[in-house]
């Protein structure tokens, strides 16, 4: 993507994740937007393009009635869990194309307890699929990691360690939802949801909002204390043969996942390799997802996760800290907000402003990866 090195995140804002009775998703989005604008030292009138989305909490552009009716072009995007990534992609393209100089992206959601009730028809599948009891994301995750564990020798202990790390990091994040550390034994001993995944290995539908202000060219230096450059943003849909959610069948011939491809493109466009990454946020809808995405993104080899995670390398003080804000497991999953939360966290880490959970080593290169049904993955590379 030409000119991408010219675009930077110049402001970030977040509304705490969790449960917030009496505040709508749209209001959380507006609050996050105001915080991002304040962080950049600008006002809503300075924004000349906006993109945003939620999965279940209304049309993002409706927030103009709270932020101000400035006439700004505002695109609503809707790509499941990858919504934040596609909002970012859209804003990035508008900046690079020259159509905008300062853009805002916002993602928010507010899911009722135990939400996520996809209907087969919306996914192009017959109603028999849901009626038979196959239309569950948790099943998909379990089936995928079960096979992966058998192929690559991943242990139940490693799944549990991913979750215990998430809750340890969440305990240091004032914007996280689950802030109580849990031991590996507590996680393994919890209620089984879908073998091999127990209750604490899954994230829950939640609430929250994140906004980012992006700028290009000379506006970056005007606005940012510490500009964090968006070196690339890439997203891909699934190829034939990738194993994705809500698949009544999968081909025997396998293909790289959408994540593998998006990550490869993101690294290539940034001119930076996975080995250069100092800190990363990757989609951890459940423990197994973090394990598999570690290798799919190129951050390690397939099978290497077992030793990497068991050695503590992905913890805050490790060689490759992953999901330093607690990820989806500790923050919960407000679908529209998750992808932007990852970028928000990487920006804080690269600025050295992550407080109690600041990675102790020097961080110059960050990476994010968000994955959404039915096989959409969006990755970014960010640098200071």
């Amino acid at each position: 993507m030409s000119g991408g090195g010219d675009v930077a995140v110049v402001g970030v804002g977040i509304h705490a994740f969790g449960r917030h009775d009496g505040v709508t998703g749209l209001e959380m989005g507006a609050i996050a937007a105001r915080r991002a604008l304040a962080d950049a030292g600008i006002t809503w009138q300075d924004i000349d393009f906006a993109a945003g989305g939620s999965d279940a909490a209304g049309n993002a552009d409706t927030s103009v009635s709270m932020l101000g009716l400035t006439g700004v072009p505002f695109i609503n995007v809707k790509n499941g869990c990858a919504t934040g990534g596609t909002a970012l992609t859209t804003a990035h393209a508008m900046l690079v194309s020259g159509a905008a100089e300062v853009a805002l992206v916002v993602g928010f959601d507010k899911h009722p307890r135990g939400a996520f009730n996809p209907l087969p028809e919306e996914w192009g599948i017959g109603s028999w699929y849901g009626e038979t009891g196959l239309m569950l994301t948790t099943q998909f995750f379990a089936l995928k990691i079960q096979r992966y564990m058998a192929e690559y020798g991943i242990s139940d202990s490693t799944l549990a360690k991913v979750a215990s790390k998430a809750f340890a990091n969440g305990a240091r994040n004032e914007n996280a939802w689950r802030r109580t550390p849990l031991s590996e034994a507590e996680i393994l001993g919890a209620r089984m949801v879908n073998h091999p995944l127990t209750q604490y290995m899954f994230c829950s539908p939640g609430e929250g909002a994140v906004a980012l202000v992006l700028a290009r060219g000379s506006r970056v230096r005007e606005l940012a204390r510490v500009p964090v450059y968006l070196r690339s943003v890439a997203f891909r849909t699934r190829r034939f043969g990738s194993f994705e959610v809500f698949s009544p069948s999968i081909p025997i011939e396998s293909a790289p996942s959408a994540t593998s491809e998006a990550a490869a493109v993101a690294f290539e466009e940034a001119g930076i390799g996975p080995g250069d990454v100092d800190v990363a946020q990757i989609q951890d809808t459940e423990s197994g997802a973090e394990v598999m995405h570690l290798a799919e993104t190129g951050l390690c080899e397939h099978g290497e996760q077992e030793s990497l995670i068991q050695s503590g390398a992905t913890e805050l003080g490790g060689r490759l800290p992953i999901n330093t804000d607690g990820g989806c497991l500790a923050c919960g999953e407000p679908i529209g907000a998750s992808g932007l939360r990852q970028v928000h966290e990487v920006v804080l880490q690269l600025r050295g402003e992550a407080g109690e959970r600041q990675v102790p080593k020097e961080c110059r290169v960050g990476f994010t990866q968000v994955y959404g049904a039915p096989g959409v993955s969006a990755c970014t590379v960010l640098t200071v």
Partner: protein
């Protein structure tokens, strides 16, 4: 199986054959030979529209499995009324040279499921709509392997 004779298939576009000898209906691409399930109007691999229905093999190997330990939401699930929810197995069965098919398993004990075990197509009542039948795979008895 006798008692199933009068029951309707949950979707005759998906399950063909007879109640005694059911067959899953997929499709095969005339251009690239890719097999899909259920039947598609075009080939997801090569995008050709020259695809034709095909009855899939009834035996295969368990490629992955899990146990559905909690009741799915309704809709889309057909609820089983007030009776208690029974956990059920779910898996992908690799039909050799064809495709891996997702299905309910008749076995729901995790100790009795392992990747690679031989499985065979059968029919089971639809939970919550026992006048209808859906497909499932059951372990092939040791003797028949």
């Amino acid at each position: 199986m006798t008692e199933t004779r009068q029951r309707l298939m949950i979707d005759p576009e998906v399950i063909g054959g007879t109640a005694q000898a059911p067959r899953l209906i997929g499709s095969v691409c005339a251009r690239c030979a890719t097999v899909t399930f259920p039947r598609q109007r075009s080939c997801p691999r090569c995008t050709s529209e020259d695809v034709h229905p095909r009855e899939l093999a009834t035996r295969g190997e368990l490629w992955s499995w899990t146990i559905q330990c909690f009741p799915p939401k309704a809709p889309p699930y057909l609820p089983g009324g007030v009776e208690e929810f029974e956990p059920y197995g779910v898996g992908y069965i690799e039909l050799p040279g064809e495709v891996r098919v997702e299905a309910r398993l008749t076995e729901s004990d995790p100790e009795r499921l392992r990747i690679g075990m031989p499985m065979e197509l059968t029919l089971v009542p639809v939970p919550g709509a026992p006048d209808k039948l859906t497909f499932a795979f059951e372990p092939v008895p040791e003797a028949e392997r």
